[in-house]
Amino acid sequence: MGATFGRGFTREIRTMDNFIVNLSIFVLACFVGYEIITKIPPLLHTPLMSGSNAISGITLVGSLVAAGSGFVALLSREGAISVLGFLAVLFATINVVGGFLVTDRMLGMFKKKD
């Protein structure tokens, strides 16, 4: 892809295309989210909050990808980096695991009259 000539140009186009693809995904996902979440009854709004809170822990994945090479540097270059990275994964896991488990615990309590 234009390695020598106009590399920046093709890169710019690619970036724009990517951006528009991503924007489409985002907008469509917002519609899906709106349609589904307005149908969730107030009865279950607390589990919805704790459950969606756990989903937002997906940033962990993003962080791991973005910081892929940074994570490899964890063990070597500077102790500070490994401490930060370790704590980041720790925090994110508390968010995800705690969120899903507490949601499960709450939902298990909702019972119909028998």
């Binding site: 917002c30 279950l44 704790s50 937002s56 980096i81 968010n95 909702f110």
Partner: protein, 481 residues
């Protein structure tokens, strides 16, 4: 194993991310009905597991890339991550299994804070490791995560402190020029954000931004009162969704974008519902102040000589002849831990042939749906928990309405006085019931700080007592009859 991790095609990983996103959508759809909700939550968790596992080969491959340090084994890095995941899982599981249901709002605030803190830390690690070589898009991700993450972290911690009712945070805290200072802080943060993105090597700029955003998180949330915390938590929740989505944009990662959009939508919708249920705009909740307006009646005018106190025996006699009873719980029920006693009372009345329903106002409690979770814990069947619109028309056919720990959400002033701070707020029409019994410790006002004419109404009896004790005494009196 090593070869597999190195050679696995990137498109398979992308497909795994897509699968995770689909699971999130199905999982949230499952939350639409109590019957399917447990499975829905499991699907969400499965989606998360798949997304995390799909990330492992990516990390491993980065470890073999040209930028990797040849002296370190990438497996040891993965080992470190696994250790963090294990410890985090134990802590998360411990909190989730130990927490009391009355403390659920605090728990959600705290978990949200952990999510924000993770963003700050990971972006900080990336900045230290690769900041100088960072591309424009990575720099945007780093600095945006730092800003949103720090605001979320400190904002959530303040929300937690307010919900736990720590003394220092109990009262909304104001000082002159608060709004101006916040605006200046916000502007400074944006300026630093732009500087950081254009000078990606400046680690000092990153931590400066984090420090500014931390102060901003504190000063933004601190002036907001405890009863408005549900809105704040919902909003912070949507922030963390938007943070995920924006990271997804930078990385071109679809699962981040989709999950972020779903969480963002959930937070925004819940925020809207809460604001509508209080008839206030989001700006008013976040930046406005609430208090008695000049024109509203004083407590003495409203209550003097008109309040009738009652006893357990009197209420028990009244309930004896009742056919339909509606219980209206509020935050006070959670504070008094009275949900089990209330559930027992309802079961007893039903065994005597009385029809019992629970009327749940959208903003009752300290987070959306808080009362439902408490009553479900106390084994009240969920089909007895009625929403406001469903239950309001039935109050005129209700013999006794028992209000326990609710105040502003049953204040008829919302319908009658257009100058009241709660004017226009949709309320539960308990005053239309034949008799209203209000369980309350004193005549102290609710969050809106205004007297409640319901307490002085002809058909209202005040049952002054602690919530739990009141219901237990009432139950004893009923059983003695």
């Amino acid at each position: 194993m090593k070869d597999f991790l190195l050679n696995i095609d990137r498109s398979y990983l992308t497909l795994a991310y897509l699968l995770a996103a689909v699971l999130f959508i199905f999982g949230l759809k499952g939350l639409c009905r109590p019957k399917t909700a447990v499975r829905g939550n499991l699907l969400n968790a499965l989606g998360m597991l798949i997304a995390v596992l799909a990330t492992v080969p990516l990390m491993y491959r980065e470890g073999h890339g040209p930028t990797a340090d040849p002296n370190i084994s990438p497996l040891s890095t993965i080992g470190l991550v696994v250790a963090a995941v294990l410890i985090g899982s134990v802590i998360g599981a411990f909190c989730a299994l130990k927490i009391r249901m009355t403390a659920m709002p605090q728990m959600v605030a705290l978990l949200n804070g952990f999510g924000g803190g993770a963003s700050v830390l990971v972006a900080g690690a990336e900045q230290l490791a690769n900041g100088k070589a960072a591309d424009f898009d990575v720099a945007v991700a780093i600095f945006a995560s730092g800003l949103i993450g720090a605001v979320t972290f400190w904002g959530s911690l303040v929300a937690f402190a307010k919900l736990e009712e720590y003394k220092a945070f109990k009262k909304p805290f104001f000082y002159p020029g608060l709004k101006t200072i916040n605006a200046l802080l916000g502007l400074a943060a944006v300026a630093l954000l732009i500087y950081g993105i254009t000078h990606p090597g400046e680690t000092g700029a990153y931590w400066g931004l984090v420090a500014l955003a931390s102060v901003l998180g504190l000063t933004l949330v601190n002036p907001i009162g405890g009863a408005d915390m549900p809105v704040v938590i919902a909003l912070l929740n949507s922030y963390s969704g938007l943070a995920a989505a924006s990271t997804g944009f930078v990385l071109g990662n679809s699962v981040l974008i989709i999950a972020g959009a779903l969480v963002g939508a959930s937070g925004v919708i819940l925020t809207q519902i809460m604001c509508k249920a209080m008839n206030r705009s989001m700006t008013n909740v976040l930046f406005g102040t609430m208090g008695p307006s000049a024109g509203s009646a004083s407590a003495d005018d409203v209550y003097a000589g008109k309040v009738k106190a009652t006893t357990a025996d009197e209420v028990a006699m009244m309930l004896d002849g009742a056919r339909r009873v509606v219980v209206v719980p509020g935050y006070g029920m959670a504070v008094a831990q009275a949900q089990h006693a209330v559930s027992e009372l309802a079961q007893y009345l039903e065994s005597k042939g009385v029809e019992v329903d629970f009327a749940i106002h959208p903003v009752a409690g300290r987070m959306p749906g808080h009362m439902n979770v408490l009553l479900a814990e106390a084994e009240v069947p969920y089909d007895k928990l009625k929403e406001m619109d469903e239950v309001n028309p039935t109050f005129s056919q209700t013999d006794v309405a028992i209000v326990i720990g609710a105040n502003d959400v049953v204040n008829p002033v919302a319908r009658t006085d257009p100058h009241s701070p709660i004017a226009g707020m949709p309320i539960l029409d308990v005053d239309k019931a034949r008799t209203v019994v209000v369980v309350k410790r004193s005549l102290s006002p609710g969050f809106a700080g205004i007297p409640n004419p319901l307490f002085a109404a002809d058909n209202t009896l005040m049952y002054f007592s602690d919530g739990k004790k009141a219901i237990l005494d009432l139950l004893a009196a009923l059983k003695e009859q």
